[in-house]
């Protein structure tokens, strides 16, 4: 009997290896596959398409005997959490063995690269522009335009750099691509290389992702002959959040301190080692094969407004049904949190959701009708960032969350620019005074002024976006601050 269990780091952290071993010991043929992304069910066991989860080694005999009704979720692919999604970037999630080239080929692998080679670089870039695909790292810059800039630059060497420094809390889509479908990312990088005339690619993966690093190293070796003359090398970060910022990442790749560079020059013209460089997020590059293989119009048919296609949204934090939910732009925040996420995991009322990582705003339920769309979130003083949602229940203290945002910025600031380096520390101290009840109104006015300086004076998004969580907490949850007032 064939038993499918994920070998994704999250499944492993939830005990998948022990469950897999128990099935092997019981004589089953265990196949380690990627994760479906229904994280509350991990370790999820799939037998003939029927799912059981979350499973423990003690459940194995019942599952094999067909009496594990309490764990049975029925056909996995028909589960509402999966059936409601529109999976393009994550089309293979749960279905293939991550490092198996036959599985990849059998599920449409390499078709995008073949198409790019057939139609040539300029038509490939044209397709990406037509698709409307925007940078999924957070900035949302049109990927095709970036590729066209690099393609038009004259240089003896160009680079494709994949930003896999997924440091935002509440995000794990990059990790799931690298661990679950590594070839799709490599194929995307090869397409980019072909399109812009780059022969070398680097994947910069954060050191907190050892499983992703191992999978990507193995995948690069296994498929080198299929992407040649393009060549991909894996590089590992060293625990600096700021290296997710593209110019800081380039400095880190060059072996320097991960300090942010002033722009211009754009990395597209003077990037890695001063050469024209495409820096794209994992999700952006991993979507390129689908766009090429299925057509730019087909991709652009999904979405709303200027946010075309789909977004792999990551539902996390205190939520009942957390996981990876890829869907067309336009779904509302409330649908994601309540209908799909099932509300808080604790069962208490949801107080807020932080969208877009540690630099994203805290949104109260009154904003739950906001559609998931770059411009719509800008319109409510927020950002969608890398698509992570962190749900908090009513026990959260928003004054502490605001302080944490400043503290995090202070801990991770690269130190290059003053508003971020000093502003975050002064901000933490000022919020400490607020937490202690000292002149709360006056200190909050100071914080608002400081946030203005950080927002407009910082070199990059770390200092520039830290005001989003801070100000949204003050704006929407002022009661958590003023209640401390002793003055």
């Amino acid at each position: 009997m064939k038993v499918r269990i994920s070998d994704d780091a999250l499944a492993i952290a939830c005990g998948a290896d022990a469950v897999a071993k128990a099935f092997s010991d019981a004589g089953s043929d265990v196949e380690r596959v990627s994760s479906w992304g229904m994280h509350w069910l991990e370790p999820l066991v799939e037998i003939n398409g029927i799912g059981f989860g979350p499973a423990t080694p003690a459940d194995v005999s019942d599952i094999l005997a067909g009496v594990a009704d309490a764990l049975c979720i029925g056909p996995v692919a028909a589960h509402p959490f999966i059936a409601r999604q529109q999976r393009l970037t994550f089309a293979r999630a749960g279905k293939t063995r991550p490092l198996d080239l036959d599985d990849y080929y059998a599920t449409g692998g390499w078709q995008g690269l073949a198409k790019a080679r057939e139609i040539g670089p300029s038509a490939t870039i044209e397709a990406l522009i037509t698709s409307g695909l925007r940078g999924r790292g957070g900035a949302g810059f049109p990927a095709g335009i970036k590729w066209r800039t690099v393609a038009g630059a004259q240089a003896d060497q160009k680079y494709i750099v994949c930003n896999a420094d997924e440091g935002d809390s509440g995000t794990f889509a990059d990790r799931m691509v690298m661990e679950g479908d590594p070839y799709v990312l490599i194929e995307g990088m090869a397409i980019a290389g072909h399109a812009v005339g780059a022969s070398k690619g680097y994947v910069y993966i954060r050191s907190e992702y050892p499983h992703a690093i191992a999978k990507m190293e193995a995948a690069v070796k296994a498929c080198a002959h299929l992407i040649a003359p393009f060549d991909v090398e894996i590089r590992v970060g060293a625990g600096a959040y700021v290296c997710g910022e593209e110019t800081s990442l380039l400095n880190s790749l060059e072996g320097k301190r991960g300090e942010v560079r002033a722009k211009p020059p754009l990395p597209a013209l003077e990037g890695l080692f001063g050469k024209p460089t495409v820096v794209n997020n994992v999700l952006t590059l991993a979507t390129a094969p689908w766009v090429l293989a299925n057509g730019a119009e087909a991709y652009a048919a999904y979405g709303m407004g200027r946010s075309r296609g789909t977004m792999p949204i990551q539902i996390a934090g205190n939520v009942k049904y957390g996981g990876l939910f890829e869907t067309a732009f336009g779904i509302t925040l409330g649908e994601l949190v309540n209908d799909i996420g099932g509300g808080s995991g604790s069962g208490r009322p949801v107080r807020c959701v932080q969208v877009g990582g540690p630099l994203g705003a805290y949104h109260p339920p009154s904003q739950f009708d906001t559609p998931f769309d770059y411009e719509a979130f800008t319109g409510v003083d927020g950002l969608i960032g890398h698509g992570g949602l962190v749900v908090f229940d009513e026990t959260v203290d928003m004054a502490s969350q605001a302080r944490f945002a400043m503290e995090f910025c202070a801990a991770e600031s690269c130190g290059k620019c003053t508003p971020c380096r000093l502003g975050s520390t002064r901000g933490t101290e000022t919020l400490d005074r607020v937490l202690a009840g000292e002149n709360v109104d006056a200190n909050l006015a100071l914080i608002e002024d400081l946030c203005d300086t950080m927002k407009f004076g910082s070199l990059c998004a770390l200092g520039g976006f830290t005001p989003y969580p801070v100000l949204s907490a003050i704006t929407h949850f002022r009661e958590d601050f003023v209640v401390r007032n002793k003055a």
Partner: protein, 135 residues
């Protein structure tokens, strides 16, 4: 593996400093002043430049850590799932080094922790205590 072996292994690589430092850290458990001097010499950098890189990144240690290290995620998603209560409830254990890490990408099943490359999720006080004890 000696430092010379590590340096030889990365000869000719573009931007070799971080890969070298990762290997040195993995092999010796820290990046010593002596190692910084030799790496600087080999790469034709100043010691200040190499020291600047070593001190910038959280992963590199200037002194060895003899105790087992557990990296506990205390970022927002794990906060929302109660990690701070775990930290408060933890019995101090001088034999284990508890470090804070901001995000392990296990944000839907936190609180989460990592020991070496082993990952742990859905931690509660009892599971965390048992994990710390097992190190």
């Amino acid at each position: 593996m000696s430092l010379a072996d590590i340096l030889a292994r990365h000869k000719g690589r573009e931007g070799p400093l971080l890969p070298i430092l990762h290997d040195v850290q993995a092999e010796f458990g820290h990046v010593s002043e002596d190692a910084i001097r030799d790496i600087a010499h080999d790469l034709n950098l100043t010691r200040a430049e190499v020291h600047g890189v070593v001190s910038f990144y959280h992963d590199y240690r200037s002194t060895p850590e003899p105790r087992p290290v557990i990296k506990l995620c205390r970022a927002e998603a794990c906060q929302a799932r109660g990690v701070e209560a775990l930290v408060t409830a933890m019995t101090p254990n001088p034999a284990v080094k508890v470090e804070t890490v901001y995000c392990l990408g296990l944000c839907s099943v936190g609180p989460a922790a990592m020991v070496g490359t082993d990952v742990y999720a859905r931690l509660d006080t009892a599971k965390l205590e048992a994990l710390v004890k097992s190190l």
